[in-house]
């Protein structure tokens, strides 16, 4: 069964068509990434799916329940970690968690045990009795996640979980999400405008642009769809042999160009092409200093499907 089915969602704010016929499905148990630049409609999608706001048109089933007709049933099945922390800064970590549990109808020893367990899980046991105003950005984010998990939801929404975190805290958060996906047997929907984040965490991604899903699939599959990788060969010495090297490589790949003492070639599969290229260069007596292969990134995928540059679009959407 699909954990989430969104069909033709539309929502308009005064000037902006935030969702423009957006459809996708998330399978049970997977980590699903909604990837897109700022302003693409990711957060609006999450707010519709978490019942915070209603779509103008279209429908969505979350954990099998309709978000418009049975919002409270949806709310019991989901955890929501908003883009901006929803932590009450005047309360301690433990108090934040206890209140969230009580809103979900938990109480007594089971609630206390669950709160202790979560504080351990996200590494905040030592800071639990401190008022969260003094928490670092990373600590607040981890508490946010614990708050989203207190009632053992089946689906967890993480809206931009690492935005605003420093690189170290972001790496920590990635490890956290990977661990959760494994331990709590959750379906996780995360939105991100970091391509590498979706690439690393999500089993499947949907690329969102201007309120629609542009393409949906496994990151690997999407990149493979672009056909090919690039192989760069750095030559030992430049003088005279560069043209020879280009000629040699051109017999293996029909897309070669030279930059400085680098020969770049586009090949269907880098791992298979490298030994062939190296062998041919060796036969020609050309010394190689280094060889690297770069696979197409989700950047390339975004460019391919939207015809627009991700970074520029992200900047403009701010």
């Amino acid at each position: 069964m699909d954990a989430i089915v969104a069909e033709d969602l539309r929502k308009r704010y005064k000037q902006v068509q935030a969702l423009d016929g957006l459809s996708f499905a998330v399978r049970e148990g997977e980590v699903f990434g909604l990837l897109g630049p700022n302003g693409a409609g990711k957060s609006t999608t999450v707010r519709v799916l978490t019942t915070l706001t209603q779509p103008d048109a279209g429908s969505a089933l979350v954990a099998g329940e309709d978000v418009v007709r049975h919002p409270n049933r949806v709310r019991r099945a989901i955890g929501y970690v908003a883009q901006d922390s929803g932590v009450d800064p005047e309360a301690t970590g433990r108090e934040n968690l206890m209140l969230q549990g009580r809103i979900h109808g938990m109480s007594g020893p089971p609630l206390r045990a669950r709160v202790d367990e979560l504080l351990q899980l996200v590494g905040l046991a030592d800071a639990a009795e401190r008022v969260t105003r003094g928490y670092s950005g990373g600590m607040k984010r981890r508490l946010d996640i614990a708050i989203g998990l207190v009632h053992r939801p089946r689906i967890l929404f993480l809206d931009e979980p690492t935005t605003g975190l420093d690189p170290e805290a972001r790496a920590g958060m990635w490890v956290e999400v990977e661990r959760l996906a494994a331990q709590e047997s959750l379906t996780i929907v995360l939105t991100t405008h970091y391509l590498e984040e979706a690439d690393r965490l999500a089993q499947r991604v949907a690329i969102v642009s201007r309120g629609r899903i542009v393409v949906e699939g496994e990151p690997e599959e999407l990149k493979r769809g672009l056909q090919g990788e690039s192989v760069s060969v750095e030559l030992q010495d430049v003088d005279g042999r560069l043209a020879d090297a280009e000629r040699v490589v051109a017999e293996i790949s029909d897309n070669v160009h030279v930059e400085g003492n680098l020969v770049r070639a586009r090949v269907p599969n880098g791992a298979q092409a490298i030994p062939v290229i190296l062998g041919a260069l060796d036969d020609a007596g050309i010394d190689v200093a280094a060889v690297t292969t770069a696979r197409p990134s989700l950047d390339d995928v975004y460019l391919h499907y939207t015809g627009r540059d991700f970074a520029r679009e992200d900047e403009e959407g701010r």
Partner: protein, 256 residues
């Protein structure tokens, strides 16, 4: 029942946060205290103003208590706006939290704050020679009136907070409605000295219901029947404004 349980725990949160910053409860009451002292002195020789009270300060004290409660309630939406900005409200809304419970926790916080402040104000009043003629019942009536008055206007203020979601707009609107209500009441002068049309309007003014109840408790020390009626009216007003605020969540959720 989820509603009383959730309301209870959300009130616990509010009071705990309040206790972590107790200084504000006192800070907010300093100004009304000054008014009590200064006005009490300023008009102390104008006998007709006090309408049978032992002194003008005694006449004024229940009025100032109510004014303070009413202003506290009017500003209560600031708490909601803070929670909206901090996304605490969103977190509750994405969980099965009752919207009414979210509103009531702010309303009760405003009420309890006003009650504590009314105690502080009355203690200052005692030092200035005020006597609570209603005895223990009188004290309770003053607490009840200040709680309900703050609560009634807190509901209204929280509704505005959800509609505007910006402090400036909320306060401007709350003051536009609020300030006239203060002058259309017998906070400063007895009803007998009001022009007829103001007296008529003041009968429908919730601020005035609170002032009448509190003044019955402090100055008259009786008329418990009408006092109870005024308190019930305030309770009804609290229910109405709280439901209004709950309804305003629709507007907020459309905007996000």
């Amino acid at each position: 029942m989820q509603l009383p349980r959730q309301t209870g725990w959300m009130v616990v949160r509010q009071l705990r946060n309040l206790m972590r910053q107790p200084i504000w409860v006192v800070m907010m009451v300093v100004q009304p205290m000054l008014w009590l002292v200064l006005y009490g002195q300023l008009f102390s020789k104008v006998t007709p103003l006090r309408a049978g009270a032992g002194s003008y300060v005694e006449f004024l004290a229940p009025g100032i208590v109510c004014m303070n409660a009413f202003f506290g309630g009017t500003w209560s939406g600031m708490g909601m706006i803070t929670d909206l900005d901090r996304k605490v409200v969103d977190r509750f809304l994405a969980a099965p939290a009752s919207r009414l419970a979210i509103v009531l926790s702010q309303v009760v916080r405003a009420g309890i704050t006003a009650m504590i402040q009314s105690l502080l104000l009355l203690l200052v009043g005692l030092a200035l020679g005020v006597r609570v003629h209603g005895g223990a019942v009188g004290w309770l009536v003053v607490f009840g009136a200040s709680f309900l008055l703050a609560a009634a206007f807190a509901g209204f203020s929280n509704g505005l907070a959800l509609l505007f979601r910006r402090p400036e707009s909320m306060i401007a609107t709350a003051n536009m409605v609020g300030l006239p209500l203060m002058f259309l009441s017998s906070i400063l002068v007895t009803a007998a000295l009001m022009p007829g049309w103001i007296r008529e309007i003041s009968r429908f003014n919730p601020v005035n219901w609170g002032v009448h109840a509190a003044r019955n408790a402090v100055v008259v020390g009786g008329e418990w029947g009408t006092t109870a009626e005024f308190l019930l009216l305030l309770l009804a007003a609290t229910a109405a404004t709280s439901l209004f605020a709950t309804w305003c969540f629709r507007s907020y959720q459309r905007s996000i």
